[in-house]
C-alpha cells in the first residue's frame, strides 16, 4: 500500500503531510507525558521488530502465494494507539529513506493510509471494544480480524481519494475504489489472522505484555465521542483543503479541462509566460504541434545523456 511520489500531486501530499505531522506531534506529546519510562526503548525495539516481521512471509492457504503483515493493530495492542502510531511512522520513514519504499513527498499520505487508519482509528474504535482487556482469546482474534479489515479498507479508501484528487490516474474513481477495497478486504483478513496468531501466542506465554505497557489516555474505548469528533474535524478540514486545491491548482485543473473538452493540445507547462510564448510560437511555426513535443522530448533526452556522459567521465577521472 506504499504510495510513490509519482502518484500524488504536491497539493494533496502537502495536506496529508500537514495532517500526519500534526498527529505525530500530538502522539509525541502523549508519549512524553506518560509515566511509563520504559516506553521509549520499547517503542524503538518494537519498530525494529515490526520491520523484521514484515519481511517474514506466511503462506496463504490454498493459494500458493504468501503475504506479510503491516502491524498497526499488533503495535496498538502492545503499545496503545499513540505510541503505536509513532512506532509505525518510524518504520515507514526508514522504509522510505533506505528502501525507497513509498515516496518522500508521499510520506504524509502513507502515514495517514497505513499508520493513522490502523493505529488511531481501527485500533481504538474497533479492536479495543471487541477485544476488551484480553481475557478471552476469541475476543482478541475477532477484534484483530475486524480491526485489520477496517484499518486496511479505510487505507484503501484514502489511497483512492489521494490518487484521484492528485489527478494522476485516468482510472475512474468508482472502478479504482472497487478494485482497491476488494483487494484490501482479503489482505485485511490475512493481516487480521496473522495479527491474531501473534497476539494469541503472546497471551499464552507472556500475557502481561497485553496490558502492561499501553497508554490509552485520550483514545480509549470509552472515548468514542471525542475521537469521532476529532476525526470528523480532520475529515472536514481535509475536504475543504482538497476542494481548495482542486480549484486553485493549475495542473490538476488543466488535466480535468482537457479531459472534459477532449482537447489534447493545451499548453503543457502551467506558467503563464510559457503559455504566451508557446501560443506565439504556435502561430508562427509551420511545424505541426506534435513535432514540437517530440523535439522537446528528444532535446531533453540528449541533454540528460550528455550530462550523464560528462558526469561519468568526471567521476572516473576523479577516482583515478
Amino acid at each position: 500500500m506504499h504510495m510513490a511520489d509519482a502518484l500524488v500531486s504536491p497539493g494533496v501530499a502537502g495536506v496529508a503531510a500537514a495532517v500526519s505531522v500534526t498527529l505525530l506531534v500530538v502522539s509525541a506529546r502523549k508519549v512524553k507525558k506518560s509515566a511509563n519510562e520504559n516506553l521509549v526503548p520499547l517503542m524503538g525495539v518494537m519498530g525494529a521488530f515490526v520491520f523484521a516481521a514484515q519481511m517474514i512471509n506466511f503462506t496463504i492457504p490454498g493459494t500458493g502465494s504468501s503475504g506479510h503483515i503491516v502491524g498497526g493493530i499488533l503495535l496498538g495492542a502492545l503499545l496503545g494507539p499513540w505510541a503505536a502510531f509513532l512506532t509505525l511512522a518510524s518504520v515507514l520513514v526508514v522504509q522510505c529513506l533506505i528502501f525507497a519504499d513509498g515516496g518522500l513527498m508521499a510520506l504524509g499520505c502513507n502515514l495517514l493510509n497505513m499508520g493513522v487508519c490502523s493505529t488511531l482509528i481501527a485500533y481504538p474504535l474497533v479492536y479495543r471494544p471487541i477485544a476488551g482487556g484480553g481475557q478471552k482469546a476469541w475476543r482478541i482474534v475477532a477484534g484483530a480480524i475486524a480491526a485489520s479489515i477496517v484499518g486496511l479498507e479505510l487505507g484503501a479508501l484514502l489511497v483512492t481519494a489521494e490518487t484521484e484528487l492528485s489527478g494522476v490516474t485516468a482510472l475512474p474513481a468508482k472502478e479504482f475504489l472497487g478494485l482497491m477495497t476488494s483487494i484490501h478486504f482479503f489482505i485485511g483478513i490475512g493481516e487480521g489472522i496473522a495479527t491474531a496468531a501473534v497476539l494469541y501466542f503472546v497471551r499464552l506465554y507472556q500475557p502481561a505484555l497485553l496490558s502492561g505497557y499501553r497508554i490509552e489516555k485520550g483514545l480509549g474505548a470509552g472515548n468514542y465521542k471525542k475521537a469521532a469528533l476529532v476525526f470528523l474535524g480532520i475529515a472536514v478540514v481535509l475536504g475543504v483543503a482538497f476542494a481548495w486545491i482542486a480549484s486553485s491548482y493549475p495542473d490538476g485543473l488543466e488535466w480535468s479541462i482537457s479531459k472534459i473538452t477532449g482537447a489534447t493540445d493545451l499548453p503543457a507547462t502551467g506558467a503563464a509566460v510559457a503559455h504566451t510564448i508557446a501560443s506565439v510560437q504556435k502561430s508562427t511555426s509551420l511545424l505541426p504541434d506534435y513535432e514540437s513535443t517530440w523535439s522537446g522530448i528528444i532535446g531533453c533526452a540528449i541533454v540528460v545523456a550528455l550530462v550523464w556522459v560528462v558526469c561519468a567521465l568526471f567521476t572516473k577521472k576523479h577516482a583515478a
Binding site: 510513490a4 509519482a6 520499547l42 517503542m43 512471509n57
Partner: protein, 266 residues
C-alpha cells in the same frame, strides 16, 4: 528468507556510501533535505502530458551522484525496483486516454501512453533524489536535521532507536530462520500457525531485549533523548546550495523546452 538478508545488505550499503567524503557529503543535512523536497515538488507539479517538461529534471540526480561521488548506475538500479507498483497504477491511463498525442512516422502514440511514461519517470526521479540524499547524508544526520527543524524529540529519538535495532533484530530473525530451516528437512514457507509462533517468539525475545537495553541505557545516564555526535552548523555555502537549487528547479520548471529545441532544429 533472503528478504531479511537483502535488507541487511542494503542498510550496510547505504551506511557505507554515507561515510564517504565529497562536495555533497559536506553540505548540511537540512539544506539537502529541503532541496530534495523542492525538487520533488517541482517534478510533481509538471503536468502528466508534458513528458518533455519532466525529462529535463533527470539531469539533477545524475549531477547529484557526480557531486556525491556515488555511482549513478547503482542509484538507477535501485530506483528501478520501485517501478512495478507505480506501473500498476499508471497502466490504466493508456486504457482510458486513447486520443493520439504523438506520432512516430504514421503510428500514433496515445495520450495515455505518454502519461504512463510520465508517471514512470516521475517515480524514478523522485526515488533517485531520495537515494542521493540518504547515500550522501546517512540516516543519522537526516534525523538530526529533522530534529533541528523542530520535529519532536520523541520522534527523532524513536527513528534513531529503530534504525539501530533493525540491525540487531534482523540478525536475530535470520538466526531463528536458519535454525528453523535446519530442523525442517526441506519444508519451505511458514504456515500461518507456525508463523504466529515464530513471530510471537521473536516478539517476546524483542521485549526482553528491550528491557535489558533500557537498564543498560539508564545505567549510562539515559534521560529520554540521544546525545548528539558532532556539531551541525549552517554555513553560507549551505544557503548558496539551497538558493542554487531553488533557482535551477524554477528555471527548469518554467522553461519551454519545446520552443528551445525547436529553434535548435532537433
Amino acid at each position: 528468507m533472503t528478504a531479511l538478508e537483502k535488507a541487511l545488505t542494503e542498510f550496510k550499503e547505504v551506511e557505507h556510501a554515507a561515510q564517504g567524503k565529497s562536495l555533497l557529503h559536506s553540505v548540511d543535512a537540512r539544506a539537502k533535505t529541503v532541496v530534495v523536497f523542492l525538487y520533488i515538488i517541482a517534478v510533481l507539479s509538471v503536468g502528466l502530458d508534458a513528458l518533455q517538461g519532466i525529462l529535463l529534471f533527470w539531469v539533477f540526480p545524475i549531477v547529484g551522484c557526480a557531486m556525491g561521488g556515488i555511482s549513478y548506475g547503482e542509484v538507477l538500479k535501485k530506483s528501478l525496483y520501485t517501478l512495478p507498483f507505480i506501473a500498476f497504477i499508471g497502466v490504466f491511463n493508456p486504457l482510458f486516454q486513447r486520443e493520439p498525442e504523438l506520432y512516430v512516422g504514421s503510428v500514433a502514440i496515445s495520450r495515455g501512453w505518454v502519461e504512463f511514461v510520465s508517471i514512470l519517470v516521475r517515480g524514478l526521479l523522485s526515488v533517485q533524489m531520495v537515494l542521493v540524499l540518504i547515500m550522501t547524508t546517512g540516516f543519522y544526520r537526516v534525523c538530526r536535521g529533522l530534529g533541528k527543524m523542530k520535529m519532536p524529540a520523541v520522534f527523532t529519538t524513536q527513528l534513531l532507536l529503530v534504525y539501530r535495532y533493525i540491525y540487531v533484530l534482523v540478525e536475530e530473525a535470520i538466526d531463528m530462520d536458519r535454525a528453523r530451516k535446519s530442523r525442517s528437512y526441506g519444508r519451505k514457507g511458514y504456515s500461518l500457525k507456525m508463523w504466529g509462533t515464530f513471530v510471537g517468539q521473536l516478539l517476546i525475545r524483542t521485549v526482553n531485549r528491550a528491557q535489558r537495553i533500557h537498564l543498560a541505557m539508564l545505567s549510562r545516564g539515559f534521560s529520554g533523548g540521544l546525545p548528539s555526535m558532532g556539531s551541525m552548523r549552517w554555513r553560507l555555502s549551505d544557503t548558496v546550495f539551497v538558493a542554487a537549487g531553488v533557482l535551477l528547479f524554477a528555471a527548469c520548471r518554467l522553461l519551454d523546452v519545446n520552443l528551445i529545441f525547436n529553434h535548435m532544429r532537433i
